[in-house]
């Protein structure tokens, strides 16, 4: 089941590219990702906590000589991230199908490969398998940006790849070290499965240096404050549809890695570095927010707001409290389904403002496009975590968890909530109201664009009305994932 879910998008794209013409590749890839979405919905419907244990486990020996398994599994941590991934990919691919690309076959094969790799990273239950998928997802995005991106694409891709691959190669060294040291200390054979590594954790000293290798990879991917250097260029140059996927989905793999790998396998180091990680989270919030309300490029406003949002998620994870982690998982899903439509709307606004993505060239668009303005407003409110939205629940839980364990940090983090309101309302007002820009030719949302954006709004509303859908299913797994670190913390007190 999970193997089908992972490989369906790539298989569909490959079949399309080999057998079909240029239009059919796009159609088939879309169909493949819709199929993955359907499987994900079926998995949500069939999942009821399961005591925090994995379900749908697939476990084959992949490379027995090195103790590497092809092991996949579903739990409360990755269930909704997988669903969010399939959702964002499916509707981005729909958007892709609505315009024409040069070299379409290659484009869709890469998109399919990207989706398969991300799903694989979320579902992997073996450290090397995770690293492999984690690195693999970079290749399609490197080419997608490099071939179809804006004018500065070559510099942007080089930066992107060097930052992220440096992180992931360090993680590879960390992963190997973790398993080898673990097998030496426990006297058992080499085994990279999460479950085996969690059962025999390595000593504190080893954990501490390996933690840093993993943290580097995940923080680059998120991106978090001091390691976000690749972000502005990449956001500026990527095609919108690719960026929606990249920003919505790939950044979550880093945050997910902290919850699924770092906390359970390196609990002592997680407690040791808790303050450092919280500081990084706070810096990301403050820096991201400050940058977001000084930028004039609409994409970069959203990019820096993502840095701030991921900062919140980091805080939630390293609060090392059940509520915080729950909020973090919910917030990962929320951010994915909010940021993708935001980017599509930016593209629509740019099309109405003479092609410029600068918010100074926009303004007054709401007058002739009330439906677009309404949808944008809903998404804006969701992003700034208006009470009543799913994001409010997420941020509230994060701050609640943090308040219980590290009160000072939570008080500073509260300012981030206010700043989010400032920069999101700023972009809304500057684009939709204010004086009409010189080049602006406002018009209403077209049906084909609505087809892409409205489903996201539907899901945003669903989570606003019923966040319990996610929280109840994730609860047991999240608690299990932070349990080792909490034990370390309570025993050290």
């Amino acid at each position: 089941m999970l193997s089908i879910l992972i490989w369906l998008p790539l298989a569909a794209a490959l079949i399309g590219a080999i057998a079909g013409g240029e239009r059919t590749t796009g159609g088939l890839t879309l169909l493949g990702s819709l199929g993955a979405l359907a499987i994900a919905i079926a998995l949500i419907a069939g999942y009821h906590g399961n005591g925090g244990q994995l379900t749908h486990v697939i476990d084959h020996d992949w490379i027995p000589a090195l103790g590497i398994h092809y092991k996949l599994g579903l739990d409360g941590l990755n269930l909704f991230l997988v669903a969010m991934t399939t959702l964002v990919f499916a509707f981005s691919l729909l958007a892709c199908n609505l315009r024409s690309w040069k070299k379409p076959s290659l484009f869709y094969v890469l998109m399919g490969l990207g989706e398969s790799a991300v799903l694989g990273a979320f579902l992997a239950q073996d450290l090397i398998l995770f690293v492999a998928f984690f690195d693999l997802m970079l290749i399609p995005f490197y080419l997608l940006t490099g071939v179809w991106g804006g004018p500065g694409r070559v510099a942007a891709t080089t930066k992107l790849v060097i930052y992220t691959l440096v992180g992931s190669l360090l993680m590879l060294a960390g992963a190997v070290a973790l398993a080898v040291i673990s097998s030496q200390e426990s006297g058992q054979g080499l085994n990279f499965a999460y479950s085996a590594l969690a059962a025999s954790p390595v000593g504190k000293g080893s954990q501490e240096w390996i933690f840093l290798l993993f943290a580097a990879a995940f923080l680059v991917k998120m991106p978090a404050f001091p390691l976000h250097g690749w972000m502005p260029d990449a956001y500026r140059e990527m095609p919108t549809e690719v960026l929606a996927v990249f920003s919505g989905v790939l950044s979550k793999v880093g945050a997910y890695g902290f919850l699924a790998i770092v906390l359970p396998l390196m609990p002592k180091a997680s407690v040791h570095y808790q303050t450092l990680m919280l500081v990084i989270g706070l810096c990301s919030i403050i820096y991201g927010s400050a940058m977001a309300f000084t930028q004039t490029n609409a994409r970069l406003v959203i990019g820096y707001s993502s840095v701030a949002q991921l900062g919140f998620i980091t805080l939630g994870i390293f609060a090392l409290a059940p509520q915080g982690a729950q909020g973090a998982v919910l917030q990962m899903v929320n951010h994915g389904i909010v940021v993708a439509p935001l980017l599509f709307i930016v593209a629509l606004l740019a099309a109405r403002a003479g092609g410029s993505e600068d918010i100074r060239d926009m303004g007054g668009i709401a007058m002739r496009a009330p439906v677009l303005a309404t949808i944008f407003l809903i998404i804006t409110f969701a992003t700034l975590a208006m009470p009543g939205s799913g994001n409010f629940v997420g941020e509230f839980l994060i701050l609640l968890g943090l308040f219980k364990t590290k009160m000072v940090f939570s008080i500073i983090a509260f300012t981030g909530v206010v700043m989010a309101a400032v920069y999101m309302l700023r972009i809304f007002i500057r684009t939709m109201h204010n004086r009409t820009g010189p080049e602006v030719r406002s018009r209403e949302l077209r049906w084909r664009d609505a087809l892409v954006i409205v489903p996201f709004v539907g899901v945003i509303l669903l989570f606003a009305l019923y966040p319990q859908l996610e929280l109840s299913r994730a609860q047991q797994s999240v608690t299990a994932s932070i349990q080792p670190a909490r034990q370390v913390e309570s025993s050290s007190r």
């Binding site: 090195l66 070299k103 492999a132 290749i139 440096v166 030496q184």
Partner: protein, 507 residues
């Protein structure tokens, strides 16, 4: 018969056991003679075909020898799994070189018979080298491998840079050989033995920290590092690769490296293993220097052959890691990486050769610009090769690096594993530049300005793409194999594991 003659008994020679070497040397002689025929077809078609037959025969008897662990000619040669597996590597590299040379300029300018005979002799030298069980055989092997290569580098006789390359390789190779033989003499002087097993025994008996033997080891390291192009003894590599005919450069990059690493495994992990704590740190330092020098050197290159030369220097640094830890795991990791290295490097060189013949840009990076649009069947193998050399998952290079890192962490050299990773990061800078050129740049306008020839072996009579089918096919086969073994590495693990099993002195 006088009694004095009767008293000398030649050692028993097990001709069956050494049949892989015989097939190569006999092939060399036959090819040389057939090359003297008048008929053009005989020279240009029959000679390469016979070379392939000879390689095939050698491969067949190699597989026939499988599982027979024979010590032949009074213990001078060990025909064990390590020898056989590395021989297969040499044969594969040699066969690829023959295919790549089929329509190349070099054999036409020199002579088909000589060219192919030298190639076979060099392969035989490599096989003898990795089978060597004493210092004398080692030296014979290294000379038999090197001397034909000095000549082969200079076979494009009408191009000055090819001659320069041959001369440079001759001079530097001779310095390396001289240093090596001096070192071997000192080791003999210290231990009184030429057999590896006897040397190991002597070291175990407390002769290990004798000044003579330590000096000898240092000189042997220097000599072999010249052959393996380990920094700081690598300076010849970029110049020689750039000047040599590209099929020969491809052969050297793959096979010479495998031979040098094979003999490093034999001498350091068998004969000198007792002195591991003396040479281990020295080699680790050299590996570190090599990784940095190779990767940083490659960054600024615009000639693909020079870039691949520096990349091969860096890869030599990675490969040394497996020698340094002197464990079975380390040997297996080295052998595994050598096989993988063959696949990805030959895929890359085949594409370079195809583009040298198709474009006026020689081996400059411009020659592959826009390849994704123009020739996807060449673009994919080169892309895969570059990603694999960089160590991206789903390619065999990833598994190879993973295995090496595992061997390093297991052997207590975790820091060198981190160096290896840092080196891989630097290497992304130049490997991805090639990928970017393939997919993200447009092909340079035809006839724009004077063609750039970065010292490459420019094929004056450019061949139409359809006439390069054998090069394209080779690139695609090796590219596909790189992906295949990246996903299903188990067969290679089994091979590597068997090879490591033949070095019984280490755990």
């Amino acid at each position: 018969m006088s009694p004095a003659v009767a008293a000398i008994h030649g050692p028993h020679i097990d001709y069956a056991a050494i049949s892989p070497f015989e097939a190569l040397l006999a092939g060399s002689v036959i090819v040389l003679l057939v090359g003297l025929l008048r008929s053009r077809v005989a020279r240009e078609q029959l000679v390469p075909a016979l070379t392939l037959v000879s390689l095939g025969a050698s491969l067949a008897v190699t597989i026939w020898q499988w599982n027979d662990h024979v010590s032949a000619i009074a213990g001078a040669l060990a025909v064990d799994d390590l020898t056989l597996i590395l021989t297969i590597v040499f044969i594969a590299a040699g066969a690829a070189a023959v295919v790549l040379s089929w329509r190349a300029r070099a054999p036409r300018e020199s002579a088909h018979g000589e060219y192919h005979a030298l190639l076979l002799a060099s392969i035989a030298g490599m096989a003898v080298l990795v089978a060597a069980q004493n210092l004398i055989t080692l030296f014979i092997g290294i000379e038999l491998l090197s001397i034909p290569l000095y000549v082969l580098c200079a076979t494009e006789m009408r191009r000055a840079s090819s001659l320069e390359s041959g001369l440079k390789y001759l001079i530097i190779g001779s310095v390396g050989s001289a240093t090596l033989v001096y070192g071997l003499a000192l080791i003999y002087g210290a231990t009184g033995a030429t057999e590896f097993s006897a040397i190991a025994g002597s070291i175990a008996n407390g002769h290990g920290s004798n000044a003579l033997i330590l000096t000898g080891i240092a000189l042997v390291i220097v000599g072999l590092c010249f052959k393996a192009s380990v920094a700081p003894f690598h300076q010849w590599t970029p110049d020689v690769y750039e000047g040599a005919p590209t099929p020969i450069a491809a052969f050297m990059a793959v096979a010479t490296k495998a031979a040098a690493l094979g003999v490093l495994l034999r001498i350091f992990d068998v004969a000198l293993v007792g002195d591991q704590f003396d040479w281990g740190p020295a080699l680790a330092t050299l590996a570190t220097i090599t990784i940095f020098v190779g990767n940083v050197g490659a960054l600024g290159q615009s000639s693909l052959k020079r870039m691949l030369a520096y990349s091969s220097v860096a890869q030599a640094g990675y490969l040394l890691a497996g020698v340094i830890v002197s464990t079975q795991l380390g040997v297996a990791a080295t052998v595994f990486y050598l096989i993988v290295y063959l696949l990805m490097n030959l895929a890359a060189f085949a594409v370079v050769i195809a583009r040298e013949r198709e474009t006026p840009y020689g081996d400059d990076i411009d020659s592959v610009a826009g390849l994704g649009d123009a020739r996807p069947e060449l673009a994919w193998p080169l892309t895969i090769a570059m990603l694999s050399l960089a160590g991206i998952p789903a390619t065999a290079g990833f598994i190879g690096k993973l295995y090496l890192i595992q061997a390093l962490v297991d052997g207590g050299y975790a820091w060198l594993g981190v160096i290896l990773v840092i080196g891989s990061m630097i290497s992304l800078g130049y490997y991805l530049r090639v990928v970017a050129a393939i997919w993200m740049r447009d092909a340079p306008a035809v006839g724009a300005g004077v063609p750039v020839i970065a010292g490459g072996s420019q094929e004056a009579d450019a061949v139409a793409p359809s006439r390069n089918w054998e090069v394209v096919a080779l690139a695609m086969v090796f590219g596909a194999a790189t992906i295949f073994f990246g996903i299903v590495p188990q067969p290679l693990f089994d091979l590597a594991h068997r090879a490591a099993g033949s070095l019984t002195g280490i755990y």
